[in-house]
Every structure is written in structure tokens, then in C-alpha cells.
């Protein structure tokens, strides 16, 4: 029960982790089914309709319901600890954000049971996604499910921006922030400025579908290209929302396990800011073949290639950090080191795609599929695996098993390259994406088989990781505070797992790599910045859960034209807001004499 009402960032992080892994499994299962279907020519494991549903749900699930929540899991688990805070700025909103994400995702996936699944691709291009071509309720699930889940993401973005600006420990100036915190700060800003565009797009599409509006109905003056613009104004920053946190994780892991300061810290910060800024300028590189004309294509092409410069800066800084370090090849570090060349390859094919004339050749082929999986699986998922292995002892007080960890890494890493490397060539040969089968004898057959075998290897890697979790569960909680012994930032100064209030006394930060600096000066603990005192905590609340259920009900109501049910759902949510506004909630205090008992996860 206290999991349903918790507002503690550490528990919410665990909830995100569980839900994210759950959806990762579903998305992975969908991927395996896609690959089984494409294993040999003219295969008929799934029908063409099911195939469309599978790729749509796979893409949507992986991006919105697996990758982003897993990142939210890590940021919830780590950010307050890294900045020496007792919680996030808005614990209540944090919980609300989790539950809206969860119920949005649930709604989306219930479409499988309703027998009418979104099938217009994760980009939901109109007119394909419009009422004429997708007349069932499938795309409604996409539109409404994502809308509800999107609220949660936006709340998270606002929350973490405010947290990082306002809640840093004394002495922790911006240019002393750990790189992961910087990454999350920038990611949060991207969320705040990108997600509202998606909100509007989804609303417009919903109005078109449910209330016969004409935003995208060409026959009535609407415009399909408008959807593409709105979608990608959100969609391109979205890929940076995914990858920037991975940058942050890699920076932490590489410097910890090289036992060296991150090379070029300030250039890392500025490179990340620049990448995020340029990320907003390049959306139309997804639309080269739409026919925007040579001037637009040229400008967007150049702007896109520019991003390679700050990205290169980051790559070299990681290499220089490793250079001459005393490197420990832990599982976390293997994933981080594996990330570097893989991500470089994704970047190189990105520059190739950014060349507009060449894109006419690659567009909608497996080359594109290979490219973005190199970036989001080889980049982001490797980063998430690195982060999960790295912070697991901090989150749960138990070390993951390293042997199984290495099995996870090698099967996943090899499987990944088997699956996707070869797809570059499939694409160059002309195999189109989003097509449910192909004729034999065109040179696609063997490569597709290899690709499918690789996907199974990744599946084995994922199962190994889950096994590792279960095995670890049975072990005692004996991870040390500084579990890797080479921790550099504040989260490694408090017990694993941390007590409810994180820091008994908020620490005083005296330099970059705060904890490392103290250790080098022979200290065994941080200097506190305040005397021991009574700690004020927010109280748990069931309202976020009820509010999200309200939205969930409302979504169903509107989808099936039961406006009364829709109204009831909204009334539940708004009613909770009124209750929240009128009832006093002063939280509670933990007094010094109680502060040493009860270290809970």
C-alpha cells in the first residue's frame, strides 16, 4: 500500500524501474516477433495487419514506455542524491507523473485486448492515421494513451529543472555539478520545450478523429505536412531527450572506473548545451523527401551535420578520460566502453543521412532502421544498462552479480551488432522498412536470418539481466556506502540504500567531484553544512493514483463516444485537484533521535 501512496523519489524511481522493465519486455517481445516474421522471405507467422500493429507498438512502447521511464528511474534514484537534496522540488507531482505515465501506457497496451491496435507507425503520419484510413479505434489508443503518458513526462521535466536549480547543497555551483546531473538538467529543459508540441499535435489529431475537425483533412483544407512539422518539432528533440542522459551516465561511469577526473569537464557541459540547442533546429531532416525544396533541405542538412562537432568533443573527452586511467572492467564500464564505438557508428550514419540527396536513396529503407537503432539501442540502451549496473547497489543495497553481468553484456553487445550492422547493407540494397515481407532471391535472405539470430541473442542478454536481478534479490543487503570504492559524487557518501531523508545533514561541497576531493584530502565523511536537526518530510498521498485513474477513465469514455463516462473521469481528476487545494498537508518531521533507525528502500 505504501507503494501506491509514496512520494519518496527513491521509491518512485523503483516504480519507474519496474514499469520500464516491464514495458521493455513487451517491446522486446514485439521486436522478436517482427524479426521472426522477417527471418525468411514470404514468411507468414503474422499477417500484414498484425505486422503493422507490431512495428507501431514496438516503436511507441520502446520510446515512450520503456526508454524514457528507465531514464526517469535513474534520474529519480540519483539526482537528489547527487545534488545533496532530501527530495525533489515537488514530491507530489513526482508521484503524479509516475502514475499518469503508467496509466497512459496501460491504456495504450489495452488496445491489444480490445483487438484494435494502433497501426500507423510510431510517427502516426496522416492521412494514414486519420479517420478515413484508420477507422477503428487503434489510433485513438495511440493518441489518448500518449497524451496521458505525456503529462507525466512534462511534470517530470518541470520537477527536475526546478530541483536542480533550487535544491543544490551549499557550495554545489553549476560548474561543479556532476555530469549526469547536468545531462538531466538539459534533458528536462528539452522535455519542457518539446513535449507541448506533441501535446498539440495529439490534440489536433484527436479532434480530427473524434470530432471531425480538419487539421489534417486535406479535402477540407487541412495539411498533412503540418502534422509532419509538429511531430518532428517534438520528435527530433525527443531523440536528444533520450540520448543526453546516456551521455551523462557514460561520463560518470567512465570517470569512476578509470579513477580519473572527467577530461574536459567544461567543454563537456558546453557541448551538451550546444547539442540540445541545435537539436531544436534540425527537425526537418526527417522530411527531406517531403518536398520542402532545396533551400530548406540545404539549411536543415547543414544544421544537422553541425551537431557532429560537439558530439565529437564528447567522444574525445571520454577517450581522454580512459587514456592512462587505471581502468576497472566492471559490467557497468563494459557497457560504457561498448557505447563509445557503437554510438560513433550511429553518428556516422547520421551524418550520411543528413546529406539530403543521399537521403533520397536511404529514406524508408533498413539503412534508417539500422541507424536509429545504433543510436537508441547502442547508445541509450547501453547507457541505461551501464547506469543500472552502476547505481544498483545504491538503489537496493546489493551488488549485482558480475559474472552474470558480463554474460549480459557480451550476449547483448554481440547480438546487437549482429542484428543491426547487417541492416545497413540490407538498406543499401533497397530493402524497405515497415514492409511485412519480401520476395526471396534478392540478396536479402541470409542477412535477414542473421539479423533475427542477433535479436535472439539480445533477448538472452535481457533474460540474463533479469536473472541477475532475481539472484541478487536473495542476497543480503551489504553494499557499502561507497560501493565501488571509487565513487566521486555525493550519492556515494550516504548509506546504500539511502535512508528516507537521504542526508542527515546536508553536506558542504568544496569542489568538483565533491566526494573524491574529500577522500583525496584523507577525510572519511563530508563536512556538514548544517547542524543535526528535525527533518521535514512530505506526507504520502493516494491522490496522484486516483487522478491518473480518472484520466484513464476519461480517455476510455471519449474514445468510445461515451461523453458521460469521459466527464466522470475528468471530474474525478479535477475533484482531486480541488481536494488537494483545500486540505492542508503539512507533512511530518523526523526528529534527530529517530534518524538512525529505519533505513528502508
Amino acid at each position: 500500500m505504501d507503494w501506491l501512496t509514496t512520494v519518496d523519489h527513491k521509491k518512485i524511481g523503483i516504480l519507474y524501474l519496474i514499469a520500464g522493465l516491464f514495458f521493455f519486455l513487451i517491446g522486446g517481445l514485439e521486436a522478436i516477433l517482427i524479426r521472426v516474421q522477417l527471418m525468411k522471405p514470404m514468411n507468414d507467422v503474422v499477417s500484414s495487419d498484425t505486422f503493422n500493429e507490431l512495428i507501431t507498438m514496438h516503436g511507441t512502447t520502446m520510446i515512450f514506455l520503456a526508454a524514457m521511464p528507465l531514464l526517469f528511474a535513474l534520474m529519480n534514484a540519483v539526482i537528489p542524491l547527487q545534488i545533496g537534496a532530501r527530495d525533489v522540488a515537488f514530491p507530489f507531482l513526482n508521484s503524479l507523473g509516475f502514475w499518469t505515465f503508467f496509466f497512459g501506457g496501460l491504456l495504450l497496451n489495452l488496445s491489444w485486448f480490445a483487438g484494435t491496435v494502433p497501426d500507423a507507425g510510431w510517427t502516426s503520419y496522416v492521412p494514414l492515421a486519420g479517420p478515413n484510413y484508420s477507422s477503428g479505434h487503434g489510433v485513438d489508443y495511440y493518441v489518448i494513451g500518449l497524451q496521458i503518458a505525456g503529462i507525466g513526462t512534462l511534470l517530470g521535466g518541470i520537477n527536475f529543472m526546478a530541483t536542480i536549480i533550487n535544491m543544490r547543497a551549499p557550495g554545489l555551483s553549476f560548474m561543479r555539478l556532476p555530469m549526469f546531473t547536468w545531462a538531466i538538467f538539459i534533458t528536462s529543459a528539452l522535455i519542457v520545450f518539446a513535449f507541448p508540441a506533441l501535446t498539440v499535435g495529439l490534440v489536433a489529431l484527436m479532434f480530427d478523429r473524434l470530432f471531425q475537425a480538419n487539421f489534417f483533412e486535406v479535402g477540407n483544407g487541412g495539411s498533412g505536412v503540418l502534422w509532419e512539422h509538429i511531430f518532428w518539432v517534438f520528435g527530433h528533440p525527443e531523440v536528444y531527450i533520450l540520448i543526453v542522459p546516456a551521455f551523462g551516465i557514460i561520463s560518470e561511469v567512465v570517470s569512476t572506473f578509470s579513477r580519473k577526473r572527467l577530461f574536459g569537464y567544461s567543454s563537456m557541459v558546453f557541448a551538451t548545451v550546444l547539442i540540445a540547442f541545435l537539436g531544436f533546429m534540425v527537425w526537418a531532416h526527417h522530411m527531406f523527401t517531403t518536398g520542402l525544396g532545396p533551400v530548406a533541405n540545404g539549411l536543415f542538412s547543414i544544421a544537422t551535420m553541425l551537431i557532429a562537432v560537439p558530439t565529437g568533443v564528447k567522444i574525445f573527452n571520454w577517450l581522454f578520460t580512459l587514456w592512462g586511467g587505471s581502468i576497472k572492467f566492471t559490467t557497468a564500464n563494459l557497457f560504457a566502453i561498448g557505447f563509445i564505438p557503437t554510438f560513433v557508428m550511429g553518428g556516422v550514419t547520421g551524418v550520411m543521412l543528413a546529406s539530403a540527396p543521399a537521403d533520397y536513396q536511404y529514406h524508408d529503407t533498413y539503412f534508417v532502421v539500422a541507424h536509429f537503432h545504433y543510436v537508441i539501442v547502442g547508445g541509450l540502451i547501453f547507457g541505461i544498462f551501464a547506469g543500472m549496473h552502476y547505481w544498483w547497489p545504491k538503489m537496493f543495497g546489493r551488488m549485482l552479480n558480475e559474472t552474470i553481468g558480463k554474460i549480459t553484456f557480451w550476449t547483448f553487445f554481440i547480438g546487437f551488432h549482429l542484428t543491426f550492422f547487417i541492416q545497413h547493407f540490407l538498406g543499401l540494397l533497397g530493402m524497405p522498412r515497415r514492409v511485412y515481407t519480401y520476395l526471396g532471391g534478392q540478396g536479402y535472405d541470409d542477412m535477414n536470418l542473421i539479423s533475427t539470430i542477433g535479436a535472439f541473442f539480445m533477448g538472452i542478454g535481457t533474460i540474463a539481466f533479469l536473472l541477475n536481478i532475481f539472484i541478487t534479490w536473495a542476497k543480503p543487503r551489504n553494499a557499502a556506502a561507497d560501493a565501488w570504492e571509487d565513487g566521486r559524487s555525493l550519492e556515494w557518501t550516504i548509506p546504500s540504500p539511502p535512508p528516507e531523508y537521504n542526508f542527515k545533514q546536508v553536506p558542504l561541497v568544496r569542489g568538483y567531484d565533491a566526494w573524491w576531493k574529500e577522500k583525496m584530502e584523507g577525510k572519511t565523511a563530508m563536512t556538514p553544512s548544517e547542524p543535526v536537526g528535525s527533518i521535514h518530510m512530505p506526507s504520502p498521498s493516494i491522490l496522484p493514483l486516483i487522478m491518473s485513474i480518472g484520466l484513464f477513465i476519461a480517455g476510455f469514455g471519449f474514445m468510445y463516444d461515451r461523453l458521460i463516462i469521459g466527464g466522470i473521469g475528468l471530474a474525478i481528476t479535477l475533484g482531486c485537484m480541488v481536494v488537494r487545494s483545500l486540505i492542508d498537508d503539512h507533512g511530518f518531521h523526523i526528529e534527530p533521535e529517530d534518524q538512525d533507525e529505519g533505513v528502508k528502500a
Binding site: A162, V192, N214, G221
Partner: protein, 206 residues
């Protein structure tokens, strides 16, 4: 960092910024307004892209009546001013005058909403329905979104008034007054853009 810091019963000069919770709220709210700006920006972009596609329906020149829209604009601008008076009263710890100005603000907002509903009904009579054309869909969505924001603001300020009546003017309620006033200004600024981009530009047909 909690409200016990002020047990002497005296409010600080800017009670809305006295606690960390309050400063978090104000900052978080500004960030939220950043998101709202993108939201309205996208709606404006969609409207600008579609506003000439009127299909068989009436065009913006035939439809819009500037005098009434101008009156609505004046009402809303005035309500921004009265909400400033409310915040000033807050700074002088004058609860009564603060509540008074908040109520005036709400009333002005309600009249504005009334005018908007009247306006929409007129348009409907002239064959400008939500489904008529791309222009009409994007018009009602943009202006209607703003209207929904006004309605939300009215309810919100009413709830804030309720809280101040119940708990008095404290370091807990002061930030709520302050933030709802910022929100109200934001709605007002958006309206100025709507007035210019939708109504003025729609009337002169550029």
C-alpha cells in the same frame, strides 16, 4: 525552512518567497509557463498555416467584429491590472483589499468568457462551425484553448480565495495568490497575441 520560522506572527515583506517550498513553486511555475508558451506557439503555428483554407465557410474578414473583440481585450487587460493591485495589497499585508481585487479579477474574467461564448454562438449562426473548414477548426481550437485557460484561472483564483478565507494570509497561502496572478498575466499576454494575430490580421486579410 518551514513556516515555524515566523512564529512572531509577522509576515515578511514578500511573504510569497519566504520559504523554500514557495520559491520552488514560483520557479516551477515559470518553467511550466515556458511549456505553455510552446503549447500556444504550436497552436498559433497551426492556425497561421491553415487560416486561409476556409472551404465553403465564411472567411475571417466576413466573420470578425472588431468592436466586440476590442471590448473583450480591454476587459482582460483591466483584469490583469486588478490582479496587480491584489499582489500589491499582498505586499502590504492587506488581506481585505487583496481579496477584493481578486474578486474583481474573477468577475472581469467571467464577463470576458461570457462575451466569448456570445461571439462563438454568433459565428455558429453564420455557418462557422468547428467542422466547417481547416480555418474554423484551428480557430476554435486556438481561441477555445485560451478560453479554457481563462475558465481554469477563474476556478483557480476562486479556490485560492477560499484558502485565504480559511487560513488567512500566511507564507503558505501568499505564494498561491502570487502564482495565480502570474498565471493570469500569462493568459492575458496570450490574448494580446490572439487579438493581433487572429483578429487584427484576420480583418485586414494579410
Amino acid at each position: 525552512m518551514s513556516s515555524h520560522d515566523h512564529t512572531d506572527g509577522k509576515l515578511p515583506h514578500e511573504p510569497e518567497k519566504a520559504t523554500l517550498e514557495a520559491r520552488n513553486k514560483i520557479l516551477g511555475f515559470w518553467i511550466f509557463l515556458g511549456a505553455e508558451t510552446v503549447l500556444f506557439g504550436t497552436l498559433f503555428a497551426a492556425y497561421l498555416a491553415l487560416r486561409h483554407n476556409i472551404g465553403d465557410g465564411p472567411s475571417s474578414e466576413e466573420l470578425f467584429q472588431l468592436p466586440m473583440v476590442f471590448a473583450a481585450t480591454m476587459l482582460l487587460l483591466t483584469s490583469s491590472l486588478t490582479s496587480v493591485f491584489a499582489v500589491q495589497a499582498l505586499h502590504h499585508h492587506n488581506k481585505k483589499s487583496m481579496l477584493g481585487w481578486l474578486i474583481v479579477t474573477i468577475v472581469l474574467g467571467l464577463v470576458f468568457l461570457g462575451l466569448e461564448i456570445y461571439e462563438f454562438r454568433e459565428y455558429l449562426h453564420e455557418g462557422h462551425g468547428f467542422t466547417t473548414s481547416a480555418f474554423s477548426s484551428s480557430f476554435y481550437t486556438l481561441v477555445g484553448f485560451h478560453g479554457a485557460h481563462v475558465a481554469f484561472g477563474v476556478v483557480w483564483i476562486a479556490l485560492v480565495i477560499g484558502q485565504v478565507l480559511k487560513k488567512g494570509l500566511t507564507v503558505v497561502t501568499a505564494p498561491k495568490v502570487y502564482i495565480s496572478a502570474i498565471y493570469w498575466h500569462f493568459i492575458d499576454v496570450v490574448w494580446v497575441f490572439i487579438f493581433t494575430v487572429v483578429y487584427l490580421m484576420g480583418k485586414v486579410a494579410v
